[in-house]
Symmetry: C2
């Protein structure tokens, strides 16, 4: 493996000194980039793009050619595990992800197996290997997975949902069946992320997109518990370097202290909490990633720079901050505005690391 | 006006002693009731039902015939004000509310007028008068409005939205235009709610459904500020009784202390924060309404009663709690489960008021 030329992201996640705040953007390989839309059209549907290692590598690298980003993230989908379990993932235009065979009863949950990452999910590992090779040590590669709770919401609902009625019906009426499902998913995520690490991922992130729709008690029982199990089961070293683990529960600001107790290295923070408040809550026990509202990228560059300044000041002096958006970049954003955002972090953050 | 026979709800909102915890349910007049679906089918579309005072009164009273509820809430929509401003509200089946003429530029905002509640919104006042007469003092009648920020999201987006891209584009790019819109909406809400109070509403509630998608700074500047203005402008007494004001920002748990400073009497709390935590945050300065996850109503009655017990214990002893769901009741809920919920509050709450 070639030597890592820029390890700012890894150092920040481990709260080691850095000369400036590293930055990457969730969904940085995405529809806001015309070069992405071109490859996407060439690939056909979204999953075809994920399943083609060369094309997945190409779109992963595209934002790095435009912007001074400090990490690459594997181009894939959070629902690859349920797909590998046999639920039949597909995408309808403008409708988000759907499953041909959603989970609807306990029997179906009992029959689910744990996918073998080098078999049913080999296309993901091939993408990781290809990207890692092509990155050639430029920046670290982030692997990722959905959280068990978040995967379960899509599996039981059969797709995106507004009210989470079906998954909560299962959770409140048959909690044991729900726990069986979540435990199988946690085991699958452990094996999946460890395979990504073996294939070359230098950090991993767990996206708990829907943990924020739970009550504090239900969050601890049905989401956090399984992320905790995952963190405990992950390989934490590769190539003689630590592999940092980041957890991100959207709308989970109130639970940051509990999340920090899982043994993870960093927490993602959305924009509904000031980063300074978040830092106080976790008392520098973990690093923090975030947290600009992605919609600020619709504003003129001067307004974007102002927001970057506010967020840097909110986190304050010292290490352990990875700049990011609080959620994925929106498809309608002008790439020039993303550039202004990234440049503002490069320009303004060194003052906080002296 | 006939004398009020059950004023538990009003007393609890003013943190006066009550012998048990009062209860009502957001969207208690709704699709989960077969008798509602019948009247709805008879009326034709949703707005036709809102605009017919007799039918709006009928569906308002339906849940009170089935359940021992401590308040009635005006049957109407939160988007009546934008409709009265000329945006053309309509409902597409399964798609939620839409506007024929969404706001798309500063010129359109400048042209907006403040609706006269006894003219363009007379159908709402007629419904209030009819319901108040038919209630005959059984329980108090709650009037309501959407918050300026929440109304603005629908007006600018033209309907429901996932990313709030258009309204945030306006907010971040043309903050002055946004403030002009929000100020006109605040004036409209003041005049609308004062007219509801004059027509017979005995308490009012402001629904800030989408305040939770903002950052703390943006929430204070674009949502809370205008709710504050509204609270200051409301008539606070009618029929020799105080008219309590409740503010509810969904996903706004972190902002309860700031909301309590507006001069309102009570705050709605969703299920993403324990009620005991919320009570600590507001230090009994205001009453609290909430906060069961509406999806718990999918569970068997024993599980529902268990959740009621947990929430009552979380709030603890003392007055100032109005039991409710943390959001509207879902259309798929079995009315027998709603009954179990309401009976559990009647059975378990007196112990907390001794």
């Amino acid at each position: 493996m070639s030597e890592l030329k820029n390890d700012l992201y890894l150092r920040a996640l481990l709260r080691q000194p850095t000369e400036r705040t590293p930055i990457w953007m969730m969904r940085q390989a995405g529809r806001y980039l015309p070069e992405y839309r071109e490859v996407r059209a060439q690939a056909g549907d979204f999953m075809a793009l994920c399943k083609n290692a060369e094309l997945a590598c190409e779109v992963t690298l595209q934002p790095l050619r435009r912007f001074k980003l400090d990490a690459a993230i594997l181009f894939s989908d959070i629902l690859t595990i349920p797909d590998a379990m046999g639920l039949g993932l597909y995408f309808e235009t403008g409708e988000g992800p759907k499953f041909e065979r959603p989970l609807r009863d306990v029997a179906a949950i009992e029959q689910l197996g744990i996918p073998d990452p080098e078999q049913e999910l080999r296309y993901v590992m091939d993408a990781v290997r290809t990207i890692r090779r092509e990155l050639n040590g430029q920046v670290p590669l982030i692997g990722f997975s959905g959280s068990p709770w978040t995967l379960a919401t899509y599996m039981v609902e059969g797709g995106s949902t507004k009210n989470f009625s079906e998954v909560k019906k299962l959770m409140f009426s048959e909690p044991q069946a729900m726990h069986l499902l979540l435990d199988k998913l946690a085991d699958s995520v452990i094996s999946y992320l460890n395979a990504q690490i073996a294939a070359g991922a230098q950090a991993v992130m767990i996206f708990d997109t829907w943990g924020g729709v739970l009550s504090p008690r239900d969050y601890r029982e049905f989401s956090l518990k399984y992320m905790h199990k995952i963190v405990a089961g992950l390989t934490r070293e590769a190539d003689g370097r630590q592999v940092p683990v980041t957890l991100f529960t959207k709308n989970g600001g109130a639970w940051l202290p509990a999340m920090a107790e899982t043994g993870c290295d960093a927490l993602g923070v959305d924009w509904t909490m000031d980063l300074g408040t978040a830092r106080q809550l976790v008392q520098d026990k973990v690093a923090l990633q975030g947290n600009m509202d992605p919609s600020v990228l619709y504003a003129p560059p001067a307004r974007i720079e102002e927001e970057v300044a506010t967020i840097l000041a909110s986190y304050g002096h010292g290490h352990g901050h990875v700049f990011n958006l609080g959620h994925g970049i929106h498809p309608g954003v002008d790439p020039e505005h993303a550039l202004a955002f990234i440049e503002a972090v490069h320009k303004l953050s060194p003052a906080y690391h002296q």
